[in-house]
Structure formats: structure tokens, C-alpha cells
Amino acid sequence: MSFPPPLSGGACPGLDPGGWEEKAAASPSPPPPAPLPQGEGEGTSAFRLRIVDLRSRLAGPFNLELPAGECLAITGPSGSGKSLCLRMIADLDASEGDVLLDGAHRLSFSAPAWRRKVVYNAAEPGWWHERVSEHFRGGILEFARTMLPRLALAAELLGSDIVRLSTGERQRMALIRALALQSPVLLLDEPTGALDQDSTDLVEVVLRERLAAGTTILMVTHSAAQAERLARRHLRMENRRLVPT
């Protein structure tokens, strides 16, 4: 088990990949992943994300196959297991079964490396520094600066304290944080839950760009209209199982 070194060492982690202890294959800001061919080819790697019999005491089993650039929307009542499902895929909750990224088993990645590629963005974002900008380190701060206006956020917000942000502002900031990793898979838990229609539209434009660039998105949403707009497939969570709509 890898465990923290004694209390020496630098400040708390921002998002600077150079600071990770893992042997991360990371330049600060890799370009968005290229789209994979979407053919019906044999073999696992035709799918960006394959979820095989993923289950825990609390939810599942889940079976899903998603090619690159596809968006799957999951709707369903509160407490039906939508967040659990995303958390299991990101390996934040213990689960059995397998998840494969471009044909590679998740256990072949270290847990942090897996979570950098299969990024979970929680419905209620967490913050570990006082100021907004401290959560964006290195090249990621540049990325955040370019994203702010696109999501109708003022540039000055970077310099303010987290507690001064509105819920909607925090939600968009957290989304930028997740997008900054340029991961091949995004697991978005109600990414526009706290946003008005204008901001929601802006977020959807950005997400559509990511889809076009080949990112695979699993999205929990309460809005059937949003599922309709973004997703090619739409499943319902009922009693901790995924069922067709």
C-alpha cells in the first residue's frame, strides 16, 4: 500500500500533475483524446468503456459498453443508486466485477491513475483549500482561465474564497476542474443540477465538444430533456439496477 510520507513536503495537492507521487504519464495538459474508430469490431478495445458485471452489496450488477464519443444518460429517482454506480466505475466505492478502459482492466492501473482517466465529478463538489485558484495549479490554471468565460464565470472568481461562490458557480468551477484532466471518460453526477437554463446551455456546448473529440460521458441527470439533447442512449436506474427507458 502506498502511504503518505511523513509530514514534510510541500503544500497540499492542487491539480498539478507534476506533484503526484504516482509515476504519472502526464504532461501538464495533454490534448483531448483522439476519437477511436467506432466500428463494430471484434475485441474489447472497440469500446472506450466496458463495464462487466460490476456490483457491490449496495448496487448492481451493471453491464455497459460505451464507444468513444458516446454519451449515456442515467435518470431515476433519488436514492436509486445513480451516484453509487458512477462511484463504483471510478473505483471510489469498493465493487466486484470489472471495468475496462480501451480494453485495459482497471486493476492494471494504479487507483489514482485510473481515477485520472475515469474522472468522477460529484453532484456536490468538495474543496480542500480556501481560495478557488489554489485548486487549479500549474497548467491547469491556464485551462481554467480559458474556460471561465465560456461558462459565464467572471475571471475574478479565481481569486476569491470558495465560500463566497454561489452553488451554481461552485458547480461550474468543479466541472472545469474535472474537464482539466482531459480524461478519456467523464462520469458527471448532475453536472447542471444547480444551474439556470442559460448556464446549462453553456455547459452542454462544452460537453458536446468533448463528445465530438472522443470523450465518453456517463451522465446522471434529473432532466429527461437534457438526456434527450446530449445522450445517444438513455437508461433508468431503478432499485439499484439499470433498466431501459
Partner: protein, 268 residues
């Protein structure tokens, strides 16, 4: 120079003060007299018993008996550390963490003091080993329970922040670093306060005791200085051990935050 020995009648005269307190409680309707008398009786019985046990152990001059007494003290201190936090680690985790950290910090510090600074013959002489272990334990208990309470409470309070970092690819160690730091820091504040106030605000207990027992104040001060170093060393060791052991129990081989291994203390 011999200390002035107390006779039972000396104690009886002082006990009048307790009776006076009880009378005040009755007169002012504080409803404290029962508790007060009861606590006084308990105190007398406990201390007389300890006196007897120590006299016995000293006369036995057996390292095994000494070890047994110290282990019993460690066990009590460990359970105190385990009992403080609002949160409980599963599978008696609080107790395992508390007892092992307290034992580790106390033995290391006490053995260091006995073999290098005090050097009684033999070094495990009960007359030195037991009082030293006792004083160190008291402080180690304090810092250990503060550290554990701070870490377990912090994990619950800052769960979103820790998991947000994990979800963005931070290692468990990185995600916990801030909390680990504040927990150790909080645990060390009392001993820092104690050191900076020593002699100015309070005359420390050991020094007072040594002076009453007839020791030269300068010699007593040296004893107290040694002790303060031991106490801060022990506190630091205990805090760090508690925090790391508890943090390790809150994760698994995939560097998750296993908050499911925590449960709130049953109130009642």
C-alpha cells in the same frame, strides 16, 4: 535531607476542608455534597491502593512485576484514547490504534530516559520506571486522544473534500495530508502550552513534588526540564502514530476513503 512525613492525623485535619466544602454545598443548595464526598473517598482509596501496590512492586524488585504494572497502565490509557472520539473505527479499531500508539510512544520515551539520562541500577528499577511511565502516559493519552478525535471527526466533516481529491487522481496520502497535519498539530498544542507556561504560570507538579521531598530547587528544575522533553517527545510520537494508524484503517488497497468503516458512538 529527609522529607517531612505526614501522619494520619495531619490528613484528618486537611480532610476538614472537604467537610467544609460539603457544608457550603448544603448551605448554598449546590447539591454537590454527595458527589464531593464520594469523589474524596474514591481518591483516598485509589491512592492508598496504588501506594500499597507500588510498595509491593518495589520490594519485589522483579522486572516482570514492573512490566505488568506498566502494561496495565498502558491498557487503561489506550482505552481512554479509544473512548474520546465521537467516531468509532470498526473491529475495535479505536482500541487497537489507541493502545498500540500509547504503548509505542510510552515505552520508547521511558526506555530512552531510563537508559540514557536517569540510569538507575538496574535501568528497569520499578521506583523509576513506573513513575516515569505514568507521567509520560498521562501526556501521551492526552495527545493521542486529541489526535484521534481530530482525525476521525475531520474525515467525516471533510469527506467531500477528500473524495474530490481522490476522484481527481490524488493518492490517498495526498488527499489526507491536510487533515493529518491539523490533527497532529492539534494534539501537540497542549504540551507546547505546558512548556511555555512552565514555571511562570504554573509550578510543574514534579518540580513541586521534588522540592517538597527536600530536593534542591535547581536539581528539581533539571528533573522537570528532562521530563518536559520526554513529555513532548512522547506526545509527538503518540500523535503521529495514532494519526497514521487510524488513517491506514480508513483506506484499502485501491486508495479509497473507507468511511463505511466508521460509525458514530452510541449515545446513552
Amino acid at each position: 535531607m529527609m522529607p517531612i512525613l505526614l501522619t494520619p492525623s495531619d490528613l484528618a485535619i486537611a480532610a476538614v476542608l472537604i467537610v467544609l466544602d460539603a457544608g457550603l454545598s448544603l448551605a448554598l443548595r449546590l447539591a454537590l455534597h454527595t458527589q464531593l464526598i464520594w469523589a474524596a473517598v474514591r481518591m483516598v482509596v485509589q491512592l492508598v491502593l496504588v501506594g500499597f501496590v507500588l510498595r509491593l512492586v518495589f520490594s519485589m524488585a522483579s522486572p516482570l512485576a514492573t512490566l505488568a504494572v506498566i502494561l496495565a497502565m498502558v491498557a487503561v490509557a489506550g482505552s481512554e484514547v479509544a473512548a474520546r472520539p465521537e467516531q468509532r473505527l470498526g473491529r475495535f479499531g479505536n482500541y487497537a490504534v489507541g493502545a498500540s500508539a500509547v504503548a509505542f510512544a510510552t515505552f520508547l520515551t521511558a526506555i530512552l530516559a531510563l537508559t540514557t539520562a536517569i540510569r538507575p541500577q538496574p535501568w528497569y528499577d520499578a521506583r523509576y520506571a513506573i513513575p516515569f511511565a505514568g507521567i509520560i502516559l498521562g501526556n501521551v493519552l492526552n495527545s493521542g486522544s486529541l489526535a484521534l478525535d481530530s482525525l476521525l471527526g475531520g474525515v467525516v466533516r471533510e469527506r467531500l473534500a477528500i473524495e474530490a481529491q481522490l476522484a481527481l487522481g490524488a493518492s490517498y496520502g495526498q488527499a489526507m495530508r491536510g487533515l493529518i497535519r491539523t490533527s497532529v498539530r492539534r494534539a501537540l498544542l497542549p504540551i507546547i502550552n505546558q512548556m511555555s507556561a512552565a514555571g511562570v504560570v504554573t509550578l510543574p507538579g514534579i518540580m513541586t513534588g521534588q522540592i517538597l521531598a527536600g530536593m534542591d530547587p535547581m536539581e528539581a528544575a533539571k528533573y522537570q526540564i528532562l521530563l518536559m522533553f520526554l513529555l513532548s517527545g512522547g506526545s509527538g510520537l503518540a500523535a503521529v502514530t495514532v494519526v497514521y494508524l487510524a488513517a491506514m484503517r480508513l483506506t484499502d488497497d485501491r486508495q479509497r476513503l473507507r468511511i463505511d468503516r466508521l460509525s458514530a458512538k452510541a449515545r446513552g
